[in-house]
Each structure stands twice: as C-alpha cells, then as structure tokens.
C-alpha cells in the first residue's frame, strides 16, 4: 500500500478523462457524451477519498473552466461541491450495489449540472437547451463501466 502509487493513477486517469471530454465529436454524439472527468473525479472521491481529495475536484474543475472558456471558477465550484458530496458519503455509497451507485451518480451529476445552470444564468449567459441534461443520464448509465475500468488502477480493499 504505497502512498504515492494511487496518486499517480488518479492523476493519469483524470488526464485521460479530460482528453476524452475534449476530443471533437460530431454534434449528435457530443450531446450524449458523458462528463468523463466528473465521473472519474466521483469515482476517486468515493473509492480513494484521500488520494485525490477536494484538491482533485477543484483542480479538475479549473481545468474544465480553462478548456471550455467559461467563467473562471464555474466548473471549479460545481465540481468541488460534487466532490465534497462524494467524499462525505463515500462509505455509504461504496458498499451499495452498482445500480444504487448509478442512482447516486445520477443525482450528483444533476446537482453538478444544476449548479452550472444557475451560475450560467447569474453570469449573464441565460441561454440554455434541454440537451444539456442528457449527459447526466448517459453518465449514470456508463457508471458500471467506469467502476470496471478504473477499478483496475488501484488495489481493491
């Protein structure tokens, strides 16, 4: 149980997730693209809350802000909040079957998108489409896949 090894995989997988959420996709595919980075941060916050911690959520949010060109701090705040939820409830959610975990992830993604939506409105960007909520559903659907893949990057206790 070396202390540095999980950190390396946390950072690497988060980087890959960031790339996945940036790769250009055709319009129809981009609508349903899950928020890979948010899913990765959720996973690490629940399974290894000490490896990434709040700093991972905040840093990932800042990276999303930088790449999406949004108001600086918008994604950082939303992702920090979701990370906090996941870290606080990790013992509760971790023991549940995958289906219930997916439900929790769905709720967390809804909270994340809701915060973004509110901040968008406050910061003078009141335009919105219903399609922005699609990724919360696809994200919850691929959660078992996320668990399956990211589970290989750390020793399960």
């Amino acid at each position: 149980m070396s202390d540095r090894h999980p950190r390396v995989s946390v950072v690497l997988t988060s980087l890959v997730a960031l790339l996945l959420s940036l790769v250009p996709l055709p319009h129809w595919a981009a609508i349903g693209r899950p928020a890979f980075l948010v899913l990765a941060v959720l996973y690490w916050s629940m399974m290894l809350p000490r490896a990434g911690g709040m700093t991972l959520g905040f840093g990932a949010g800042l990276a999303l802000d930088a790449f999406h060109g949004s108001v600086l701090g918008e994604h950082a705040l939303a992702l920090s909040f979701v990370t906090y939820l996941a870290i606080r409830l990790n013992l509760l959610v971790r023991a549940k079957p995958l289906f219930e975990q997916s439900l929790f992830v769905f709720a967390a993604l809804m909270a994340y998108e809701f915060l973004l939506w509110v901040i968008d409105g406050w910061s003078g960007y009141p335009l919105s489409t219903p399609t922005r909520w699609v990724h919360t559903l696809t994200g919850a659907l691929i959660w078992p896949l996320v668990v399956g893949i990211l589970g290989r990057f750390h020793a399960t206790r």
């Binding site: 250009p24 000490r50 600086l72 950082a76 901040i119």
Partner: protein, 312 residues
C-alpha cells in the same frame, strides 16, 4: 479549525484540514474568481496563462483529425489533384476578370467622389490561421485558432473565410485565440439587406447553424435569397462583407411571425483555415471602433490608438 483533521473521531481524514473546510475554502476561491472574471485584471492574466497551458492539449486533442486530413491529402490520386487544379485555375481566371472590372469601378468611384488621390486599401494586413479545436456545445459556437497575441492577434478582430464573415476574436491567448462564430447565440452582427439597404441585427441561432433576425416587423420587405452584408455599424466589421443569405420569409414561422432565418455564407461547419483581417483606419470604410458593443472588456492598446485616428 485545522484541529478537526487530527480529531480521533476521524481517522480517515488524518492529514490536513477536513473536506468540509477545504470545500468552503475552494468554494470561496471559485466565487471570488467568478466575481472578478469580467472585471479584474488579475483574473484576466490568469486566463491568459491558462490559455497558454491549454494550447498544447488542444493541439494534441485535435491532432487525429489533422492527421486524417493530411493523410487524405497525401493519398489523393493524381487525377483528382489535376481535376482540382483545373477547377482552381478556372476560378482564378474568373476572379481575375472580376478584379479587372473592379479596378475600373474604383477609378470611377474616385472620380465621382472628387477625391484627389485613391484611398489606401481597406485591408491593411491579413493572416491565415488554422482551426485547432471546435466547441461542440450547442450553445457555444466557438473555435480556437493557432494564432495569438504573439502573432499580433487582438480582441474583436474580424475573422472571415473565402466566402464571408465567420466571426470575431473573443479572447486572445499567447499562441491561440478563441473566435466567436456568427452562429453563436451570444453573437450579434449588424447587417444590411443588399437589395433594399434595410438594416437589422442578426443573432446567432446556435447549433442549427443559422442566423436569426428577430427585430423585423412581419410586413418587412425581406425575401428568401436576399443577401445580408455587414452594415458597418458596431465597430468590428467594415460595411459590405457578405454575412448570410435569407432562407425564410417573415411569416414563415408560426410561433414567431417576425422571425427570419438566414444561413451564413461562410462555411462555418467545414472550415479548417480562416483569415484574420486588420483594417486600415484611414480608409473611410474601415469600421469605427465602438468599445461599448465590444465583446471583450480590455481594449488593446493598438485598438485604442486606431480609434483616435479613425475618420468615420
């Protein structure tokens, strides 16, 4: 508060402050950043630095499609290339014929206006830029180009392609810049119908790739096929650059009778290369810089200087 971390009741969080404290800290940082994003110089500098940091990743993420385009080009057959070459030759001679006529028209114009000397060319400087990343969010029609402050790109610079106006520079990074396309819902461009000189404003329609003209009465004389050109107001584009072609009549939409749709003449979806324009302010057709409408808050020193010598 840091004592919380070493509390015996919380063996899981035995290092540093508790997640709750950290969350509060990060939330405050985020809110301060958001508050100063539009106003503070410091956050703009952070943005500038972040643009520099994200540039290599954007290039890397875009590289597969660039490689694919290159491969397609490399594997094109000789016949296809020759056909393309012939096509371009034909287009070139067509354009040459047109410019011949244009020089005569310019001379005529000078005589009619009673000018002593001919005017300086409107476009002082132009440079090509490659699109390195495209924002696919339906509500953010933006592209990132591979030219930035180091190449002399300034905020609010006009961006065109071979057919017409594509957008304007929204934010400048050191080596890259973000271009807001005319189809972005946050973008508005003052236009004029060439047929009857009717003026209006075209708003971006988002992901469907159209422009909307909502500020028209339902009995306005505007027909499908009308060409919209920039009207020269707003301080970004000079008058007379093609913007879009009207595709719907005012009464075409049942819910919003006055709403007219127009399709951009620039190939917004398929462009890989764009042209950045800089106008000579001593030409009367150059756009008069008009900071209140400008998109990015900080006026570049060069833009401020040009506003003083503008003759419009």
């Amino acid at each position: 508060m840091a004592m919380f971390g070493s509390d015996l009741n919380r063996p899981l969080y035995d290092r540093g402050p508790s997640p709750g404290l950290r969350f509060t800290l990060y939330a405050i940082i985020s809110i301060v950043l958001m508050y100063y994003d539009r106003h503070g110089q410091l956050v703009q500098r952070i943005h500038y630095a972040l643009d520099a940091a994200t540039y290599p990743v954007q290039v890397a993420v875009g590289s597969p499609s660039v490689a694919w385009t290159w491969l397609e080009g490399a594997l094109q057959s000789r016949d296809a290339l020759q056909a393309r070459n012939r096509e371009l030759q034909a287009r070139l001679s067509e354009l040459e014929l047109k410019t011949m006529r244009q020089q005569a028209l310019e001379q005529e114009n000078i005589q009619l206006r009673g000018l002593r000397a001919s005017l300086p060319p409107l476009i002082k400087h132009w440079q090509f830029a490659q699109i390195i990343s495209v924002e696919t969010d339906p509500l953010r029609q933006r592209v990132v180009i591979d030219k930035g402050a180091h190449d002399g790109v300034v905020a609010n610079q006009a961006v065109v392609d071979g057919n017409g106006i594509l957008g304007q520079v929204a934010r400048v990074g050191p080596w890259s810049a973000e271009v807001i396309l005319v189809t972005d819902p946050e973008d508005a461009i003052p236009v004029q119908v060439t047929r009857n000189a009717l003026r209006s404003v075209a708003l971006g329609g988002g992901s469907d790739g159209d422009l909307l003209l909502p500020y028209l009465a339902s009995n306005t004389d505007i027909r499908p096929g009308d060409l919209l050109v920039s009207s020269g107001l707003g301080g970004v584009f000079p008058a007379g650059f093609p913007v879009a072609r009207v595709i719907g009549a005012p009464s075409g939409d049942k819910d919003q009778p006055g709403l007219v749709r127009a399709r951009p003449v620039a190939d917004v979806a398929r462009d890989r290369e764009v042209i950045l324009l800089q106008f000579d302010p001593s030409n009367p057709a150059a756009p008069a810089p008009n900071p209140p409408i400008a998109l990015a808050p900080a006026p570049h020193p060069a833009a401020a200087a040009s506003s003083r010598v503008s003759t419009r």
